[in-house]
Symmetry: C2
Subunit: 338 residues, 2 copies
């Protein structure tokens, strides 16, 4: 089965894969107004920071078209574009791409705006592809002594097309290994509390025909200790200047287990994730989300939780960070791949 595009510009409207319906339903949304786009973003039908950036760019193109159709003046157009930018406040990519395209394109010329929006999509795709290819080449070099058998890779959360467009980041590296014909099996953490691994990554791997197994998050370190993975590959939400990595909660336990097992722990992320202004992980603010994501429905009523959405993996546990431009080995004392 062919996977529908996560996000596409059709002449005058947006098509988006409804991520709230996955994995049990494949539903494509046809979005022809700013109001519908804002609804799709706030309901998480469209999600993932790089995806939201492209959605912001497409949103400006959509507003320009709708403004022409409905005779908006400049003030109304600016206000509608502002609604797109503000649809979700925390994903910086959304507001950043809306601002960039508003500043650079000619809002009086729909074709110019649409070209600029499609360029944002192209860039996201290219960055993802470059990360994927570079990461796969790095891992094949790293694991050159193990290539007589198909490689087994452990990953976490969702870092594929659904979150990042193109091939994704960590999942893009996995896909490139698959295309290279050297991949055996992927182990996917379910990624509590929101189960992005179980819901989205398993679905993407199924679409790609990549052999995979789902595991409870608590099982991951044991599986790694038992030799069931040759490498761990994850994405990143933010990387500090010293190489400390903030990523989805549960990542740090994989890094601890990988170090103990003596296998590489590789982070795949765009350059835009590296934040040179943050000296170390200690300065990265970690989002504390609602208790109910963890407590409902199993725990007794009134139970409190500690629901951090991300964790910090110290740089000394990171074998390499792979971006679209380079490979950084923050410390790499114990595992030297090159």
């Amino acid at each position: 089965m062919e996977t529908p595009d996560v996000l596409a510009w059709r002449d005058g409207y947006i098509e988006a894969l409804d991520q709230t319906a996955l994995p049990h339903q494949i539903r494509v949304l046809r979005i022809a107004s700013v109001g519908d786009l804002v609804d799709a973003i706030t309901s998480l039908a469209i999600r993932g920071a790089p995806v939201l950036g492209v959605a912001g760019a497409f949103g400006v193109a959509l507003a320009v078209r709708q403004g022409r159709r409905e005779g908006w003046d400049a003030a109304r157009l600016a206000s509608e574009i502002g609604r797109v930018a503000a649809a979700r406040p925390t994903a910086v990519n959304l507001a950043r791409e809306v601002a960039a395209i508003t500043a650079s394109a000619d809002l009086a010329d729909p074709a110019s705006v649409e070209r600029a929006a499609l360029a944002v999509l192209d860039t996201a795709n290219r960055v993802s592809r470059d990360i994927s290819v570079r990461g796969a080449a790095y891992l094949r070099e790293c694991l050159r002594d193990r290539l007589d058998a198909p490689l087994r890779v452990h990953t976490h959360c969702n870092t594929g097309t659904l979150a990042c467009l193109g091939w994704g980041t960590a999942l893009g590296v996995i896909r490139a290994l698959h295309e290279d014909g050297v991949l055996g099996q992927v182990i996917v953490d379910e990624t509590r509390p929101l189960l992005q691994g179980a819901r989205l990554t398993c679905w993407e791997l199924g679409q790609l025909g990549i052999e995979h197994r789902l595991a409870a998050d608590g099982a991951a370190p044991f599986l790694i200790s038992q030799g069931l993975a040759d490498a761990v590959v994850v994405g990143a939400d933010r990387i500090a200047a010293n190489g400390d990595v903030a990523n989805k909660i549960g990542t740090y336990s994989l890094a601890l287990a990988a170090r103990r097992a003596g296998i590489p722990f590789v982070v795949a992320a765009p350059e835009s994730t590296i934040d040179e202004d943050t000296p170390s992980g200690a300065q990265i603010p970690i989002e504390l989300r609602a208790d109910e994501e963890v407590t409902t429905p199993a725990a007794p009523a009134g139970t409190r939780a500690l629901n951090y959405a991300f964790d910090i993996t110290p740089a000394d546990l990171v074998t390499a960070i792979v971006t679209e431009q380079r490979i950084v080995e923050p410390v790499s004392l114990e595992i030297n791949c090159r």
Copy 2:
């Protein structure tokens, strides 16, 4: 609110707290026949290895009473006792206690059988209490430099009264620290896939009035790295002769995180858990359970899982094993508590 007994012998019948109804309902079962007892065990209303041992002993007493009432011959009585022993095949305690009481008590004398059965309960309670008190004393010694603030303890799965009678094992140690007035907060892993932490441990801590927070299993290592626990205390399903510990899946990640954070990782378990015939963790068979426990309902249909129920924590990560008789420090190179 007073917690009902997990398991009690009332003159001629068994009362059991229905663990399938927890935490949302407190339902006490009145079990007056072997058939009802077998149903309660197979449905997991009665669960936990030490609890099953006592249930087996009570089951023999129940069969003797029912046999008198219904005029069973010796063959029928033996067959009904056999049904109790076989109600769950994997929990060795059940068959072991049925065999012990059948061999030692006079089945023609109901009072003798009941005395023997109550002695099994007494032993379970005493063992649990001894582990709890010894473990709390050990931790207070271990953490003597931190006692100026209330202690924070991280735990996993369910190791309280519900699983072990008495005060439990790891949760018994936590309860003893609470009774000593030195406990601040407990962090409980939800313990996927079956959520014993969320469902049962949170309920027990709530009943005891002990301050606690629930966390996703993947969050545990991060919380420990952030200084949110002074110690990790867990139970054990089997301990090898070299000190390797098999316990509920997810335990190993806590041991890795505790070592990195420099805090004690303490295992609380009865002597009967130590298996001198198993040289190391590599010889402990690990139960692989049904995929559906992990895949349902979030993953796409047809997703396969790797659902190991237990993991192995190597002895070199274990600060101490506390039993009803002694404290064993398998290696304790980096953290020396005494």
